[in-house]
Symmetry: C2
Subunit: 357 residues, 2 copies
């Protein structure tokens, strides 16, 4: 497994999980269900036995780099790359490809978002192994999740002819569809959810960048040269970063690449997009309440309650509420209003209460 | 006005205002509407110009005596009497009568509960003056509040023949009626709410105690003797208190006394019995929200929100909730469930979380 590297993309901000997530403490640092580990820690620790810790890179924003290192003491501190500014996923992957290439030009990169929730870890790890093997030979591979509903919030991958066992050709990537198309996708059996998980051989990715996004390729080469020669790669990256083409790897590379393959996965994959999803994934009591912290619940059902160990939250006669209590902010709303949390964040900015967002 | 004394009865516990009131910090120490002063402070300060501060006594439980003195620095510390145990209102008034009698045997005692809310202070002060004058001549007087609804939560006073201008004879005291009787009381015009405000000449009260509750009279005489002789009155009271007949002044004296008079009052009198009343009395915004603290309210109506200045409470899409947030406890319930707060207190005791109640 020494040619396998992981690149965890941890650039999120997470307005939707206010007040627990903040601009200084984004979603990936949180545990949103019943686990102890944060989403980021879970993503890293699910790789045990598949990727060595020394081979796991995390790309995050520069201001979250120290907190990221503190959450992941098992990683060498230099494996956490801090982006001076967010430029979408293609520059992030180009940068990581330079680091992998400097260590092993044919290294296989497992590129993972930091914050999905995975319910079936053995199935997930099995899919990772198959996708790694496919990328080692074929160069560019993605994982498509078998859809369980006509979700309009995700992108889709259309699947073509079977190649190796469990590996199929990607016909095309499709952006978030409307409900009618999503329903057709699900019933067709030929469309999978785009999980945002990608598997690249470093040399294959760099070749694609050279063809599709030459400025990112030049940037990666500049980084790799400095890493090889002992030059100041960090200073070079910091200086260049804001000038790079800001584009997703999906648009910038995957949609244009000639030979992309897909491994099907069904491992209970959830994009935890709001407090509603957090509730759905949490362990519930007999009244369908999901509770973290000390509570007194009287005639209360279907609530997601998240407080602190040294404070009691008492609910009387309410149902289907989200209650999230922190040191300096308290949120109360019906579960179905979770998408409106951003309105609070906007309101607080308008109130000049920036330290609360 | 030098024959006028006030006796503020501040023995409450206030489970119904959890989590703001606690066994260590009962209701009378709180401001439940929009005022700065606590209910106790308001009760004392409404007496300005009617009773000298040196003549205002406060009877509270011994464990609240220091906090009471701290809330009322304008009173001589010795004017706060700490009951070693709660024995209802008759022993409390007997004790206060001894203190008043030791200073002026014909002193007029204005006996007031510590925690009603008074909306029309000039009218209230006018009623006090008339009731004081009536008690100075007649001995035992009460104030009856003109009822504005068929309230079943209060006792009533039946009014008889007019005596002096604005003073009528009490026919009888009536305990909390059912709704049918309450409706008849209100339409009759002869029934007033029993406000719990009493006006006694000290000698008249001691004579009634001698006739109706001899042990309380003996206790009062023992206290008065020690106060006159410089003996250890506090030790005597502390020793005797638990043995005294535990009964209300209404049952123990007023209902049996031959000549009790009543002054009618209409001064916006509210017994703040629950968070619901606190909401009703609070100043509200255009969406009928009553707010103390920093908030962000999105699509929210009819809520009573009480937090801290250094913490934001964000509500989205809720209505008619009570939200009270303190350092170590948070309460959320529909306004109509206010009477169930005691169930939380019971639950916390069962959880052995006694420091939270």
């Amino acid at each position: 497994m020494n040619d396998v590297f992981a690149v965890i993309m941890a650039g999120g901000s997470g307005t939707r999980f206010w007040p627990l997530s903040r601009s200084v403490w984004p979603k990936q640092f949180l545990s949103l269900a019943h686990e102890q580990d944060s989403l980021l820690q879970q993503t890293v620790r699910r790789l045990a036995g598949i990727v060595d810790n020394e081979h796991i890179l995390v790309v995050t924003s520069a201001r979250h780099a120290d907190a990221t290192r503190a959450q992941l003491p098992e990683l060498p501190p230099g494996n956490v790359l801090g982006e001076p500014t967010g430029r979408n996923t293609a520059p992030c992957i180009a940068w990581a490809a330079a680091h992998v290439s400097a260590r092993n030009p044919k290294g296989v990169m497992v590129v993972l978002p930091a914050d999905p929730y995975i319910a079936d870890e053995p199935a997930y790890r099995d899919v990772l192994r198959r996708a790694i093997a496919a990328a080692r030979s074929a160069g560019l591979v993605t994982v498509g999740v078998t859809p369980t509903r006509p979700e309009t919030g995700y992108g889709y991958v259309e699947v073509g002819e079977p190649l190796d066992p469990g590996v199929e050709r990607v016909v095309r990537f499709v952006e978030k569809p409307d409900l009618y198309r999503a329903q057709r996708f699900v019933t067709s059996g030929n469309f999978l959810w785009n999980s945002g998980m990608f598997f690249f051989r470093a040399d294959a990715m760099l070749a694609e960048l050279k063809a599709q996004l030459p400025d990112l390729h030049a940037f990666a080469r500049g980084c790799a040269e400095r890493l090889a020669s002992g030059g100041d790669e960090a200073a070079f990256a910091a200086e260049q970063y804001a000038t790079l083409t800001s584009i997703s790897i999906d648009h910038g590379v995957m949609e244009k690449a000639k030979d992309v393959r897909v491994v099907r996965g069904a491992f209970g994959w959830y994009d935890i997009g709001s407090w509603t999803t957090a509730y759905e994934l949490a362990i519930k009591d007999e009244h369908q309440n999901a509770v973290l912290g000390m509570v007194s619940l009287i005639d209360t059902q279907g609530c997601y309650v998240r407080g602190k160990v040294d404070k009691v939250i008492a609910l009387i006669g309410v149902r289907d509420l989200v209650v999230v209590d922190t040191e300096d902010a308290l949120l109360i709303m019906p579960r179905e209003r979770a998408q409106d949390v951003k309105r609070v964040v906007e309101d607080l900015k308008a109130q000049k209460a920036d330290k609360l967002v």
